[in-house]
Each structure stands twice: as structure tokens, then as C-alpha cells.
């Protein structure tokens, strides 16, 4: 895993709990009591008429739908080796809780992906330190 070729995120103090959660195979969302969870993590509620700084972390179910997607044929790391070649799916996942996030879909034939397909989270431990939230069809 030390030779993982893809780009890795570097957490900020504000996003550290999100990445720590993923490492423990939990999808944690910053959540406002009044407005619910949001993505991506910010230390406040990004609803303009709320803007509360009272944020708790809550665990998401990991279930969602493919909101929209593309099938990249570009050899972009980590999808650039004989073992892991393109094409691959980049998808915007709409979580059951509402927020949307960018991810990859783990699917045998990318061209069987459909909009609104049901998916669930896969925790991809790409290095000892970083786990990426990916998804697979249910």
C-alpha cells in the first residue's frame, strides 16, 4: 500500500474528524441540530440563514444513490496500471441523509452504471493512513 499512486487528501484541523472516521470505517458527517448533516465538512452549518457553529459529528448509513456520473477513459492514477486500468467511474453520490459527495463506483462493467442506481459505501484503505469513501452497487 505504500506505493499507492493516486492523489491523497491532506486533512485540515477542521476536517480531521471526517478522515479519522473513515480510517475507522465510519462515514461521519458534520451535523447541525436544526438543518441536518452537510458535506463537505465545515465547522459551521452552511445554510445561510442558520450559520450555526454548533456542529456535531453523526454517522451516516453509507447508503445512497448515483446522482450523476462519468466514465473516465483517462489513465489517471491509481487507474493507470495493468492491474487497475481505465475506464473507471467517477460519480456524485447522493447519500440517504441528503448530502452529495464525489467518489468512485466499484463496478465490474462501468457501462452498467445508471443514474439513481442504489449504492453502498466501501471503505478503501488506500494507505495505512488514508481511507477513501468509495461505493458499489447494492
Amino acid at each position: 500500500m505504500a506505493d499507492y499512486a493516486g492523489r491523497l487528501p491532506v486533512a485540515t484541523p477542521e476536517s480531521q474528524p471526517y478522515w479519522d472516521g473513515l480510517k475507522e470505517h465510519k462515514l461521519m458527517l458534520p451535523t447541525c441540530d436544526d438543518c441536518g448533516p452537510h458535506f463537505y465538512p465545515r465547522p459551521f452549518c452552511p445554510t445561510p440563514d442558520c450559520f450555526s457553529w454548533d456542529i456535531k459529528w453523526t454517522q451516516a448509513s453509507g447508503k445512497g444513490k448515483v446522482h450523476t456520473f462519468v466514465i473516465s477513459h483517462q489513465p489517471i492514477p491509481p487507474y493507470n496500471s495493468e492491474d487497475n486500468p481505465p475506464p473507471y467511474v467517477i460519480a456524485v453520490i447522493e447519500l440517504e441523509e441528503g448530502p452529495r459527495l464525489m467518489s468512485n463506483l466499484i463496478i465490474d462493467d462501468p457501462y452498467t452504471t445508471t443514474v439513481d442506481m442504489d449504492v453502498e459505501i466501501v471503505f478503501d484503505d488506500v494507505t495505512d493512513e488514508v481511507t477513501l469513501p468509495k461505493f458499489k452497487p447494492v
Binding site: G6, R7, L8, P9, V10, A11, T12, S15, W19, F39, Y40, H67, T68, F69, V70, I71, S72, H73, Q74, I76, P77, P78, Y79, P87, Y88, I90, V92, R100, L101, M102, S103, N104, P110, Y111, V115, D116, V126, V130, L132, K134
Partner: protein
């Protein structure tokens, strides 16, 4: 808001001497050569310039490089529509007396990468929440909204392919267009293309084949703006700014509120229409930023030229010309002339293409376009996104 209407004019507009592969020119020299050409077009000198607006460079960088000390600067750099926004800001600055002669410059070594800036940090939102998923630049992100639009409205790849074919038809009439017949032989992919050619071209990132994607080029462009009073003194007819709008809707494409509507387009477009006192029915000619075939379709819908969701069938409508040729809706002879320089798809795309869209609007309004001149263009719209539908800038320009 209508107080900006007809108060400031574009009196100079030009590209760099060449566009395409220019490995002998750095980012800043592209800014400088474009500035020279735009000032020559206006019949002005660099010494006249007291306002400087640029993107892809800090205004101080460009000012120092040019050897000027402007008293008004704007470095709004939000992607391809930055220059539409610069024009809007220049209008306000000239009206406020912050400067008298505004120079807007663009230079980008988008192909050769001579002093090209590098991407964002791994701790930025994009670095944390998009880049790790093998995002590979615009083809993998500008494409993100498309399949949602297909899903909700029945838009198809065939619809989009007509936009590429129509735009290539314009490129074939423009000697500067990189993929046009003048500059590129058919065996190297230049000259006429059909929608089927688009569908048959190599897959880049579904739903975009190669010919759904813009060219990748080095180049630059610049504009010179002065007040309406001063604009009457120039050899060439002034192009007046009637209306302008701008917006920031999101940054990461995954966070776009609705992937079938560009909120920024709507906000910027409404402001432009309101300040001009005009509507879509008053626009004779459109320059809609086309990084990909889908981009102008979104503009036609969100700027009110067609109802939401009907852009696909609108652009795919064709008719037959007197010699049996196919006339595309947005191509030469069509009733929705759009991207008449050949667009980002077939003319030039440096990365921040918006400057070139404005230059073509100016030239069409001046009647300088030769074979590709659209008859009776009195009002032109130049509109673009920045980032992946993230920001937007809209200009309504006129020759009277």
C-alpha cells in the same frame, strides 16, 4: 441597475499573433503581446493605460512585466469567464473615475505549459474531496452534470454532437481557427465534421468523445475600454456595453446545487438582461463558452433562449441548404448563430477561453468577420462559466 447601459465601450480587441502551439512564449509574454495587439487595434499606447484587469496572473505581475503602474487593478481569476467579469468591473471603475483606460489581458500557455500555474493544495476542499477520486482535469469534471441532464430531460449524445459539427462549420470560415480547413488538413482531423464523426471519435470521458472536447492551446487576448464620450474619437466603431452580470454559484462540481441548471448562468444572465433592458429575443448573436459541447447547451437553457430541458432537440434541428448541404441550428446559415469564431471546440481554448468569446462578439458587431460575418448583428451576448459551471459572467454588447 440600468445606469451602466451604454456608458462604457470596448475600443480595442485582439488575440495574440498566433494561437495553438507556442512553446517560445511564456504566460506573461502572451499577456503582453495580446495587450500590444489590442492597443494597436484601438490606436492607443501603453502609456494611455491606467487600469489593468487580468486573470491567471496577479495584476502586479502583468503591470511590472509591461512596465506600467496602473491606478486601478482587478485580479478576479475565477476561470474562463473572468474576462466577462473584468469588463463588468471595468465599466464600474471607469464610471467611478477609478481609471480612464482599462486594459483587460489574458495569456495562458495552456498547451506548452511555459510558466503555467500548478494545481491547488491537497488540503483544499478540491484536494480533499474530489482529487483523490482520480479527477483528471476538465474532461472528468465538466462532464459530471451531463448524464443527470440526459436522465431528466432525454438529452442525447447525438444532440450534443450537432453542436460540435455546427461549431466546426464556423471554424472552417475562420483563418485563425485551429481545427478549421484553413489551418488543419483533413487527415489531421481538420475541416468539416458530421455528428457521426463526433460519436465515432475516441472516448475521452463518457459522455464526452474527443470531438465533444475543446482544443488545448497556447494563446492570449486583450481588450481596451474607455468611457462612451471618449469612445467616439476612435477610428473603429465602439462596441458599447449594454448589460453585464456575474455570479459565484459553487466551486466543486460535486457541490453544484442542481446538476441540470447552472445557477450562476441564471444569476449573471438576469443581471445582464436587467441592466441592458433587453431579453433573449433581442440578442442577434451568441458567444457561449464551449469547453465541451454540453456547455453552450446549458447556456441556451439557463439564459432563456430555450425552455429548460429542450436544448438538445433545439441544437439538433437541421435544415437543408440550396446545394443540399446540412445547415445546423447554430452553424452558418442557421437561425441561432453561435460561436462563430469556431469556438473553444474548434478555434482555440487556452484554459480560460472567455476572452476569445468577447473578441468575436466585438468583431461581429464591427462587421469585421469576412466569410463568417453574420448579417445584421447589432446586439451580441458573450457568456461563460468559470470552473465547472462554478462562476459565470454575461455581457450584452452592441454597436450602437
Amino acid at each position: 441597475m440600468d445606469q451602466i447601459r451604454h456608458k462604457v465601450a470596448i475600443v480595442g480587441a485582439a488575440e495574440t499573433d498566433d494561437l495553438g502551439q507556442l512553446p517560445h512564449m511564456s504566460r506573461l509574454s502572451l499577456h503582453a503581446q495580446a495587450a500590444k495587439n489590442a492597443l494597436d487595434d484601438a490606436g492607443m499606447s501603453l502609456a494611455d493605460v491606467d487600469g489593468l484587469l487580468c486573470a491567471g496572473a496577479i495584476p502586479n505581475e502583468v503591470a511590472e512585466y509591461l512596465g506600467i503602474q496602473p491606478r486601478y487593478i482587478d485580479g478576479t481569476s475565477v476561470g474562463g469567464c473572468s474576462f466577462m467579469i473584468h469588463v463588468r468591473h471595468a465599466v464600474a471603475a471607469i464610471m467611478a473615475g477609478y481609471c480612464d483606460v482599462a486594459l483587460v489581458t489574458h495569456g495562458e500557455s495552456g498547451r506548452s505549459g511555459v510558466d503555467a500555474p500548478h494545481g491547488g493544495s491537497a488540503s483544499s476542499p478540491g484536494g480533499q474531496y474530489e482529487a483523490p477520486f482520480a479527477i483528471g482535469g476538465a474532461p472528468t469534471t465538466f462532464s459530471i452534470p451531463v448524464l443527470r441532464h440526459f436522465h431528466e430531460y432525454g438529452t442525447t449524445k447525438e444532440h450534443l454532437a450537432h453542436i460540435a459539427a455546427a461549431t466546426r462549420s464556423w471554424a472552417n470560415l475562420n483563418p485563425m481557427a485551429m481545427m478549421g480547413s484553413h489551418r488543419r488538413a483533413p487527415e489531421r482531423g481538420g475541416g468539416p465534421i458530421t455528428p457521426q464523426d463526433v460519436l465515432n471519435s475516441r472516448m475521452i470521458c463518457y459522455p464526452f468523445n474527443l470531438l465533444d472536447c475543446c482544443v488545448v492551446a497556447d494563446g492570449g487576448g486583450a481588450l481596451v475600454l474607455v468611457s462612451e464620450e471618449r469612445a467616439k474619437d476612435f477610428a473603429k466603431d465602439p462596441v458599447y456595453v449594454l448589460g453585464a452580470g456575474e455570479a459565484a454559484a459553487h466551486w466543486m462540481v460535486s457541490q453544484m446545487r442542481d446538476h441540470t441548471t447552472a445557477d450562476g448562468y441564471r444569476i449573471a444572465g438576469e443581471a445582464a438582461y436587467k441592466s441592458a433592458g433587453l431579453g433573449p429575443q433581442d440578442i442577434d448573436h451568441c458567444m457561449f463558452y464551449d469547453a465541451f459541447t454540453f456547455t453552450p447547451l446549458m447556456a441556451a437553457e439557463d439564459l432563456g433562449f430555450v425552455p429548460k430541458g429542450e436544448g438538445g432537440p433545439f441544437f439538433a434541428e437541421t435544415k437543408t441548404g440550396p446545394d443540399g448541404e446540412v445547415i445546423y441550428k447554430s452553424g452558418p446559415g442557421g437561425d441561432f448563430p453561435m460561436n462563430t469564431n469556431g469556438g473553444g471546440l474548434s478555434y482555440c481554448h487556452t484554459g480560460m477561453y472567455g476572452m476569445f468569446a468577447i473578441i468575436e462578439s466585438v468583431r461581429q458587431l464591427r462587421g469585421e468577420c469576412g466569410d463568417r460575418q453574420v448579417p445584421n448583428v447589432n446586439v451580441s451576448m458573450a457568456h461563460g462559466p468559470g470552473g465547472m459551471f462554478a462562476s459565470a459572467g454575461t455581457l450584452i454588447l452592441a454597436n450602437a
